[in-house]
Symmetry: C2
C-alpha cells in the first residue's frame, strides 16, 4: 500500500485523473514542497489542463467567505459538477504556519468524492499566491474538476493577487464591516467580477449595496465590457446562492464569448512562466561554482564602489554567455 501511495509521476497523474483523492493530495504536496519532481509533474499534467473554471473568493475577515464557499460547493454539486477548493492562508513568511485554519463548515463535504478540499499556506513564497497556487490549480484542473474555488484570507495584497489567478473573482462584503473605504484602499473595487453582499439579513445590507453601486458607477466601462453585478446572499441559510451560481455561470459565458477567458489564461500563464524563469535565474546568480557573483557585486554597491544599475548590467553580462 505505502509503496503504491508513493508512486511514480505517470502513475500519480493517472490516478489523480481517475479521481483518487490521495493522488491529488500527493501531487499538491509536491507543489507545496517545491519538489524536484515538479518539472516532470507539470509536463505530465499540461495536456489535461484548461478545463476548470477558476473562481477566486476574497473579502475581509468575517464577511463569511468559508460559509459562502461551502454553500457554493453544495450548489455546484447539485448541478453535478466536480469541485475543487483551495483555501489559501497568506500567513507570515516567518512564522511558518497558518494561524487560521477553522474551515469547519467545509466538513459538510468531507465525504463527497467529487469535492476535493485543500488548505495551503503561501508562506515562504515571494509574492504569496504567485508561486504555489497556479501549480496547485493545474493539479486540480488536470484531475477533472469542473470548477475550482480559491478562497483567500483577505490580507494586504492577496485580494489583488487572486484576481490575477482566477477566471472569475468574487468580492464578498457584509454589513457593519466598514468595508467601503477599506475596499477603496485595497483596490478591491477594480478586481471584482461579481460583488456579494453577504449576511444580507442584517441591518445595513441595502446601504452596503447602495454604497458599492455608487462606487462601482464611478469607473468607466467600455462598450461590451462586463458590468459587475451585486448579489445579496445569506450564505449561512443558503439564501441567494442559486442566483450567485447563475451569475457566475453568466460571467463564464461572457468570458468565453468575449475572448477574455483565453486572454486571462494567457496572462496567468505569462506570469507563471516569468516567475519560474526569474526563480531559476536567481538560483544561478546566487550560487555558481561555489562563489556568488551577485554577492561580490552587492558588496561593491554597499561600499559605494559602484552603483546598482552598473552592477545589474554586470550580473546580466556574466550570465549571457
Amino acid at each position: 500500500m505505502s509503496r503504491r501511495s508513493q508512486g511514480s509521476v505517470p502513475d500519480l497523474v493517472e490516478r489523480a485523473r481517475a479521481g483518487d483523492p490521495r493522488a491529488v493530495a500527493r501531487l499538491i504536496s509536491l507543489v507545496e514542497d517545491a519538489s524536484p519532481l515538479l518539472r516532470e509533474v507539470m509536463a505530465a499534467l499540461a495536456p489535461h489542463t484548461g478545463h476548470a473554471h477558476v473562481i477566486g473568493i476574497t473579502g475581509s475577515p468575517g464577511v463569511g467567505k468559508s460559509t459562502c464557499t461551502s454553500a457554493l460547493v453544495t450548489e455546484l454539486r447539485r448541478e453535478g459538477k466536480r469541485v475543487g477548493v483551495l483555501a489559501v492562508d497568506p500567513s507570515s513568511p516567518f512564522s511558518g504556519g497558518a494561524l487560521l485554519g477553522d474551515r469547519v463548515r467545509m466538513q459538510d463535504h468531507a465525504l463527497d468524492r467529487d469535492v476535493y478540499i485543500r488548505s495551503m499556506a503561501s508562506r515562504g513564497h515571494l509574492g504569496g499566491l504567485a508561486w504555489t497556487t497556479p501549480q496547485a490549480l493545474r493539479v486540480l484542473d488536470a484531475a477533472g474538476c469542473d470548477v475550482v474555488l480559491v478562497e483567500t484570507v483577505g490580507v494586504g495584497q492577496s485580494e489583488v493577487e487572486i484576481a490575477g489567478l482566477a477566471d472569475t473573482t468574487l468580492v464578498l462584503m457584509a454589513p457593519g464591516m466598514g468595508d467601503g473605504i477599506q475596499a477603496a484602499k485595497a483596490g478591491i473595487l477594480e478586481i471584482g467580477d461579481l460583488y456579494v453582499v453577504n449576511k444580507a439579513d442584517r441591518d445595513g445590507a441595502d446601504q452596503v449595496r447602495k454604497d458599492l453601486r455608487s462606487m462601482l458607477a464611478l469607473s468607466d466601462l467600455a462598450e461590451g465590457s462586463w458590468k459587475p453585478p451585486i448579489v445579496k446572499t445569506v450564505a449561512a441559510k443558503s439564501e441567494g446562492i442559486d442566483e450567485l451560481a447563475a451569475e457566475i455561470a453568466r460571467h463564464h459565458d461572457w468570458l468565453e464569448s468575449s475572448g477574455e477567458l483565453a486572454a486571462r489564461r494567457t496572462r496567468r500563464a505569462r506570469d507563471e512562466v516569468e516567475a519560474i524563469a526569474v526563480t531559476a535565474l536567481r538560483e544561478r546568480w546566487g550560487d555558481v561554482h561555489g562563489r556568488s557573483e551577485l554577492d561580490d557585486l552587492a558588496a561593491a554597491v554597499a561600499a559605494g564602489e559602484t552603483d546598482p544599475y552598473t552592477a545589474a548590467d554586470e550580473l546580466l553580462d556574466a550570465y549571457a554567455d
Copy 2:
C-alpha cells in the same frame, strides 16, 4: 530660475550634496517617475553613499508612528544631526494615489533646512517598497543625512519589507490595539530591533509590554546577538524619546562592532541589484523586435501545449545568446 531647477545630473547631485532641498526633491521625483536619468543619477550618487543610519518605523495604523517619528526628529536635531524622513504609503497598485496623507505633525519641522521630509507612494511598484525606497534612501544618504527615518503604514507585507531596507527596525505598539496576535500573524516579532510601547500613559501599557516580553522570550537568541529592548514612550508629550534615541544609538554601535551593519547593507544591495536585473530581463522578455517570445510561450502553456517549466527554459535559452 526654472532652467537652473531642471539642471543637469551632475549639477543636481552637487546641489543636493550642498543641502539644497529642491535638488533633493527633484532627484527623488526622478526615482518615483523611474526616469531614464536614474542610471546616471545612481552612478553619480554612489561614491557619496554609506553614511546615513537608516531607521525603519512600522506598526499598525493608530499606534502613533507619525507622532513618534516627529518626536524623534526633534531629538535627533537636538543632537545636531541632519535628518531625512521618508513616509511610505503602500497604497493600492490600482487607485494611483495615497489615501492617507495627514502627516500634520511633521509641519513642526517644515522650516528646518536640516530636516528633509518626503511622502512617497509605493503604488505601481511590484513588491511595494522594494523598488523606489532604496533609491530614495540613496539620494538622502548622498545628500548628507546622518539619519533617515522610513515610516511605513503597516499594511500587509510592508512591515516585513521595511526590515529588509533598514539598518534598525522599530516596531511600534500601543495599548488597546489588540496587537499581540496581529503581531504574531504579521511576523512582526521577528523583524524588530527595538520595540516601542507608545501611548504608555494609557491603561494596559504594562500588559502590552509584558505580553511582548514573553512573546520575544520564545525566540532563541545566539550568543552575542542583539536582544531587542522594549521602550515605553508617550510620543505626543515627547516622553521616553530620549531613551528611545539612546537605544537606537546603542543598536547602531552594536551593528558596527558586530559586523552586522556591513552584512545588512550588502544584503540590501544584493536585493536591489537583483531587482534591477530582473526588471531589465522582464523588459527584454516582454518586448523584443516588436514581438514577445514570452507571449507566444504563455499562449502555448495556456493551451496545454507545453508546461510552464519547459516554457521558462525556452525563455531563458532565447536570451542566453
